[in-house]
């Protein structure tokens, strides 16, 4: 079991300013009630493209991309502050998708051609690339997908179906996990959305996010669109980064749901007193507060470890996501209970947090998955 490295857990002045800007923009332009509109069938994107462009102009999509590809070359800690702010209002703009799910495997993959083709566009916000890794019945055996590539001509042919692909309807390209028939190993390849044989269908998820079923039928994959043919390490690295990003969103969301609940406890009067004066509720609120602080430390530590290239990073990524899953769900459930009947109505925003908590907990590794990883990394 490794020792803990020294991690810088406090945002610096620039990071604070970045997060503060994000928070203000999101509060102003992306309040959570927007979801009631965005979830409707007539909004195929499920988010605001113009707001996303604004975010790109502020540099958020470029944060993690190296300067060589027109990015800012900053770190995960920088992005985490922004994602936390988006999370507070459950803003569905595909920042996590593009900046991590799509860009990271391209950045770390084996194709320089793909880096040049996509990273500048992702950085500018013009291109959206997502990761297609979920399959029906796969659960969390992510490294054993049914989708597969077989050699064909100078390249490969991809077949398979992915589900609940984030932002599938707006993606320009998909990074796809699949089995390489030749090596019988996990592979990761890139497929453009408008390729022949790609079809996309919108799915309606409980958290109002637009996800999609993406079917690949004899889709050509060129040699230089292969990110890796021995992709377990690349996939794990991608999952770890993205899980930390998602954990930051979840931290922000949980913290906002908690703040709203505390405000409600102070304002709602029953039996002639504010319900926040009831000790049973006070103690439960205090418990949630403790959990939130522990989550915050975990998320920041994982991001710092990524930026400091610490060996502890995979462990800390597992920690962050496992605790984000547990804490966000716990907060969201208690938030509804403490809101009482009104919390159950669709008119009240608090319900969105529970729905998002459930969906987020099942993306990029559930609690049990990350606990198993943690145990493995700690040698038991």
């Amino acid at each position: 079991m490794a020792e803990r490295p020294h991690l810088n857990l406090i945002a610096n002045a620039e990071q604070k300013m970045l997060a503060e800007t994000a928070r203000k923009l999101v509060e102003e332009k992306a309040p959570v009630e927007r979801l009631r509109e965005l979830r409707k069938p007539e909004h195929p994107k499920g988010f605001s493209r113009s707001l996303y462009s604004e975010m790109a102009e502020l540099g958020w999509t470029a944060l993690l991309i190296p300067e060589a590809y027109d990015g800012l070359g900053l770190g995960l800690f920088d992005l985490v502050g922004v994602l936390e702010s988006l999370g507070r209002e459950l803003a569905p703009e595909p920042l996590l998708t593009s900046a991590l799910l799509g860009a990271y495997p391209i950045l770390e993959g084996e194709s320089e051609a793909l880096r040049q083709r996509f990273l500048p566009g992702i950085a500018s916000g013009d291109a959206i690339v997502t990761l297609a890794y979920e399959e029906e019945g796969l659960r969390d055996y992510y490294e054993r997908p049914s989708a597969s590539i077989t050699a064909y001509n100078a390249g490969y042919v991809l077949n398979g179906t992915k589900i609940q692909v984030a932002d599938a309807l707006v993606a320009d390209a998909f990074v796809v996990t699949c089995r390489s028939a030749a090596t019988d190993s996990l592979a990761m390849v890139l497929v453009e959305a408008n390729s022949d044989g790609v079809s996309i269908e919108r799915q309606y998820r409980v958290d109002s996010r637009v996800v999609g079923i993406v079917r690949f039928e004899n889709v050509d994959v060129a040699e230089d669109e292969v990110l890796s043919l021995e992709a377990v390490p690349l996939f794990n690295k991608t999952l770890n980064r993205a899980a930390v990003g998602l954990s930051a969103e979840m931290l922000g969301a949980a913290e906002k749901a908690f703040e709203d609940t505390i405000a409600y406890l102070k304002e709602r009067v029953q039996f002639d007193v504010p319900i926040g004066s009831f000790q049973a509720l006070q103690h439960r609120a205090a418990t949630l507060y403790c959990e939130l602080e522990l989550l915050r430390s975990s998320v920041y530590a994982a991001a710092a470890a990524a930026d400091q290239a610490e060996e502890a990073f995979p462990r800390l990524a597992a920690l962050a996501k496992a605790r984000a899953n547990e804490t966000f769900l716990h907060v969201a459930k208690e938030a509804i209970q403490m809101h009482g009947g009104i919390g159950m109505t669709d008119e009240c925003d608090i319900g969105f947090y529970l729905k998002r908590a459930q969906a987020a907990a099942w993306s990029l590794g559930n609690t049990s998955y990350h606990r198993r990883r943690w145990a493995e990394l700690n040698g038991y």
Partner: protein
């Protein structure tokens, strides 16, 4: 043969002769939960109406009510036999709803003759559908915080205000309400129990959507609604007494409704696990999940056994006892835990709101998971239930 057994034979003959074939096997776990009645009821299977009619003729829609009000005047034991025989054939209750279950018994206890004669037979025939107007937006668990005003004007009250969580108000003909007829030092005083015809001018209804989607709940608004004073049940200003008694009818139904299908929760989870998880021969491969399902299944069984024990105590003529106070809180938290675990089993398959890409049964389960969050809030929240256990059962002192 005892008198009760000969009554059972009689019932069997009656059912054999009269219960429509098409309804047999549809209840209680089947698709049909019984006839809710009312003037706004949508067109209904003629067999359901036939079943209602033959039962009503014998007083079997409300068997324990006196004959003069449309019942059969049966003892509880006889009624239990009747229901047992209906259940044995999988028959639905001929008439169900808040009229039969709540306001009917309340009128029998607190109503005057005129009220009983006017309302009970219509309830027993399912002619009039009732809904409940207790909760208000600013009340929540504090039910006595009634703000809806009823001001006396001669032989009428003029009613203004709002009720919420009125289930099926959009489909109901009458509503029973708690209204405030005077301001007193204790808020439990000055409340009056009032029956209101929903066709009165000034009554309007709006549906409430829940986080789980559409729902039977409504908000019901009253704007200068004129209600005859004779529609007061009990004394003016003493509605809290009536209202509390009525709540007993509600509470006693909630806990037991969960235990109705023994072992069903665990069965459903294992079924889900069969679909969504990996199996190693006859055994679930994931040991952690196996233990979680077992822990839940055990708690469910322990709860069902507690229901049985409470019922046996009651049957033995004893007081239902302190044990019954735990039923609501345990039942609802257990139900939530079951849905949470089911969602854990379903994983990504449990994240759908509508199709495509999600199975009907997973979609329904997800909505029910969301809906289950309300169970610990409605009908006396878990917090209120624990207050009651602490004070009434354990005798712990009030906070000063």
């Amino acid at each position: 043969m005892s008198e009760l057994e000969s009554f059972r034979m009689e019932v069997r003959e009656f059912l054999e002769a009269n219960a429509p074939r098409s309804l047999r096997g549809t209840s209680p776990s089947g698709p049909f939960d019984g006839y809710w009645g009312g003037k706004k009821h949508p067109p209904v299977d003629p067999d359901v109406l036939k079943w209602r009619d033959v039962c009503y003729e014998r007083g079997f829609t409300a068997p324990t009510w006196p004959k003069e009000y449309g019942g059969a005047g049966l003892s509880r034991k006889h009624a239990a036999v009747l229901y047992e025989e209906m259940r044995a054939l999988g028959l639905p209750r001929p008439v169900v709803g808040f009229g039969f279950a709540m306001i009917g018994p309340t009128l029998l206890e607190f109503g005057n003759e005129e009220q009983k004669h006017e309302h009970l037979p219509k309830i027993a025939r399912g002619e009039i559908r009732w809904c409940q107007g207790y909760s208000e937006p600013n009340a929540g668990s504090d039910l006595a915080n009634v703000q809806m005003k009823a001001e006396r004007d001669g032989d009428e009250f003029i009613v203004n205000g709002q009720k919420t969580w009125t289930s099926h108000a959009d489909k109901s003909d009458w509503i029973f309400c708690l209204v405030r007829t005077s301001q007193e030092d204790r808020k439990q005083r000055g409340i009056t129990f009032l029956l209101v015809d929903m066709e009165s001018e000034g009554v309007s209804v709006r549906n409430i959507d829940l986080i789980s989607g559409s729902s039977p709940f409504c908000e019901t608004f009253f704007e200068n609604v004129r209600v005859p004073v004779r529609n007061v049940v009990g004394q003016i200003g003493d509605g809290w007494t009536v209202g509390k008694a009525l709540l007993q009818h509600e509470r006693s139904n909630i806990g037991s409704s969960i235990g109705r299908q023994p072992g069903s929760g665990q069965r459903e989870l294992v079924e889900k696990a069969r679909h969504h998880l990996y199996w190693d021969g006859k055994r679930l491969e994931d040991a952690v999940m196996r233990e979680k399902i077992a822990a839940l299944g055990m708690e469910e069984e322990a709860f069902q056994l507690t229901l049985d024990r409470v019922a046996q105590k009651a049957q033995a003529g004893g007081n239902p006892g302190a044990e019954s106070s735990i039923l609501k809180v345990v039942a609802t938290e257990l139900k939530q835990a079951r849905y949470e675990l089911g969602q854990e089993i379903a994983g990504a398959a449990g994240l759908g709101w509508t199709g495509p890409g999600f199975s009907e049964s997973d979609l329904e389960f997800t909505r029910e998971w969301l809906r289950s969050r309300a169970n610990t809030i409605e009908g006396g929240s878990s917090e209120i239930q624990r207050n009651i256990i602490a004070k009434r059962v354990l005798g712990l002192p009030d906070a000063k």
